[in-house]
Point group: C2
Chain length 402, copies 2
């Protein structure tokens, strides 16, 4: 008989609870798993012994929670060191826990790695499995990461509407999208295009140096050509020195425990707006920073993402039960001669994922540096899932002047 | 035989094209309506003679457009004076147009009023009908206005997700919602609450003076009680002098042709964030300005709003064909002893709607000034429509400490 412990770390996603519920329901199938516990607010809940009994949840309630965005167990930004991890081990031992599953991004996978090493050093048999999630899609090894497809869908639907808004009342519109180091989420805005001339007309990613003159030239070119301009800008764009544009604007930048500068707020958008007004002289310039809306909006979700996040949770338990003592569940796109899109799940070495960041490959970025390629379009489209809104346009058959 | 002319003014909504399509399809039923024209970009398209033949559109394409957010004909912020309206009349006469329908807010209804007066003065028989739309819900006479329910639904779904996000990673969250003079849209955030303790924990409306000390006391009280705090703030909140807080912060405030200060951008949110950090010492304070996302997001719409916007367009044509020469289509909630919710459509005097602003009635605002009443909840709930997301929560059965 054994006990498993689940926790959720980092920022929320629309499907992080699918992975939680997938693992809990899968664990119930194994007669030798006595209990499944959850830690409230990530690893912090382990050392504070804020543990809850997930075995006692009804399947009905678990299914409702699976459809609910944001971490149902609560999350944390704590970045455990060795001592913190030794405390975690003490609690795990005391409760007879032999499997630890942490649903999170690259920082969380690094936490799993450290705990796993401490367990090994202490000769304590603890299976340590990382279950991937991140809206940024920046985990190594994975084709893509649960949470990203739903956030991308939000960005696509947002830009579909913003394009129509801007078509109706023309001007310059700047949408600031999340993504500290990887531009996948910002790049997703491109899939909002339906008709020729639709925005976004330019896309700025953290993978390319943000040059103010190029940006202004792009905006001007779009205004000249279309009489309007929509740009998608990653919050993580950097200048030629590699310093985030947002950071170089905020004098006393706030940092999280992982040393990351907090990029939210309206500063970047307001800065770019001012730039377009002052340097190009366009009067109607609008900006939005999508912020927290894009990572846990209730009701915008990709069905593909839901299914894959569920499966990642299931697989984590299966891998642990069939002998994997440490690793990260990773998602791999298969070459499939029958269907267009299919994925496999593997368990990869924690060291290949932990604390590393995947960026947009060059093949996904247009030579101009301010757009995406067809390869990215083909990569993303199946992930967005079914039932995207369809938008129409009038024929506009002109009535002769009188 | 007669011709009708349709146009759309002001900001877009999720259902403004339902009204357009409702009017076009209704007009087709009348054998003596020879043509239905549309003006591109509102009244501007009339004087520039950018007219299109809507009669030539397929019903299939019209139905797709009806489901598409933002003005399909394009819009304008032009505020016509007498001379501008005389030019409109000249074009209407030249084309033999005998019915003018303008879908818009209170500024647009005032344009209809002036054109109607000019037509009368010129003894030209032009039926002038205003069809209501606005996300702000600030049109007089109406129980509510097409466009508002869908925007309110966006705000509700946003705060559902933001509440879960904040529950997962506790701190202070400030969401800035549109609504220059009327707080309906901001107040809608209250309907995101599902479980006890859910946010928003405080709501700030333009109908009440925004007092910084009260705001900070509310935030502190929520942090003390819940360990977290979510507030919904209208972009139009004003200080005790009646000056918008956003305006008193922006030195050189940009104004639109209607003399309204542009309230977008991140300044208000950043100001409030700074205030909470500096005065209360809370470190994790986040803010989003919902901005343009909330008024034309593709895929978030209330089915009730869709049906009512369609009907408002239909009714406008019916009213014109049955003798109404001028007026504004208004929506009235009926006392209905059988069902919970039903509305009637009437034609009201333009003077009762034009250039006037409806505000939240006192009965909808809690005595504290920072919350809504049950009466508002009952008012809004039927408008949001069917299929709102359901959110779950774990039972959190505690595991004893060891």
């Amino acid at each position: 008989m054994t006990k498993f412990l689940l926790a959720q770390g980092g920022g929320p996603t629309a499907v992080i609870n699918q992975s939680l519920v997938g693992a809990v329901i899968e664990a119930r199938k194994f007669a030798n798993i006595e209990k499944v516990y959850g830690a409230l607010h990530g690893v912090r809940g382990i050392i504070d012994q804020k543990l809850v009994d997930l075995s006692a949840e009804t399947t009905e309630n678990l299914e409702l929670i699976a459809r609910t965005p944001s971490s149902a167990l609560g999350s944390t930004r704590d970045k455990p060191d060795r001592k913190y991890c030794q405390q975690i081990l003490r609690v795990a031992r005391a409760h007879g826990i032999e499997g630890f599953f942490y649903i999170g991004g690259n920082d969380s996978s690094d936490t799993v790695r450290i705990i796993s090493e401490e367990a090994r050093a202490a000769n304590y048999p603890l299976a340590c499995i990382h279950i991937p999630k991140t809206i940024d899609n920046d985990l190594m090894v994975n084709d893509h990461t649960p949470g990203f497809p739903s956030a991308a869908r939000f960005v696509v639907q947002a830009f579909m509407g913003l394009n129509l808004d801007n078509l109706s009342l023309p001007g310059v519109y700047i949408g600031i999208v999340m993504g500290r180091n990887a531009g996948f989420l910002t790049a997703s805005a491109a899939l909002a295009r339906t008709f020729p001339g639709d925005g976004p007309h330019a896309i700025y990613l953290p993978e390319r140096v943000f040059d103010i003159d190029s940006f202004l030239a792009d905006v001007k070119a779009s205004m000249d050509r279309h009489g309007r301009c929509i740009v998608a800008v990653s919050e993580g764009i950097t200048d030629s020195r590699g310093v985030p544009v947002a950071e170089s604007l905020i004098g006393n930048a706030e940092k999280d425990p992982h040393g990351n500068v907090q990029l939210g707020g309206g500063a970047l958008g307001d800065f770019l707006t001012r730039l377009v007004k002052d340097r190009l002289g366009f009067s109607r310039v609008r900006t939005d920073t999508f912020g927290y809306l894009q990572r846990s909006f209730a009701g915008i979700v990709s069905d593909v993402d839901q299914r894959e996040a569920r499966e990642a949770g299931r697989k984590a338990v299966q891998f642990a039960m069939t002998g994997s003592q440490r690793g990260s569940v990773t998602i791999h796109r298969t070459d499939n001669s029958i269907g267009d899109y299919a994925v496999d799940y593997r368990v990869s070495k924690l060291e290949e994922v932990a604390a590393l960041t995947k960026k947009m490959p060059d093949a996904f970025i247009a030579p101009s540096g301010a757009d995406i390629t067809d390869a990215f379009h083909q990569y993303l489209r199946p992930l967005l899932g079914a039932g995207l809104p369809d938008v129409g346009r009038l024929r506009n058959l002109a009535v002769p002047e009188l």
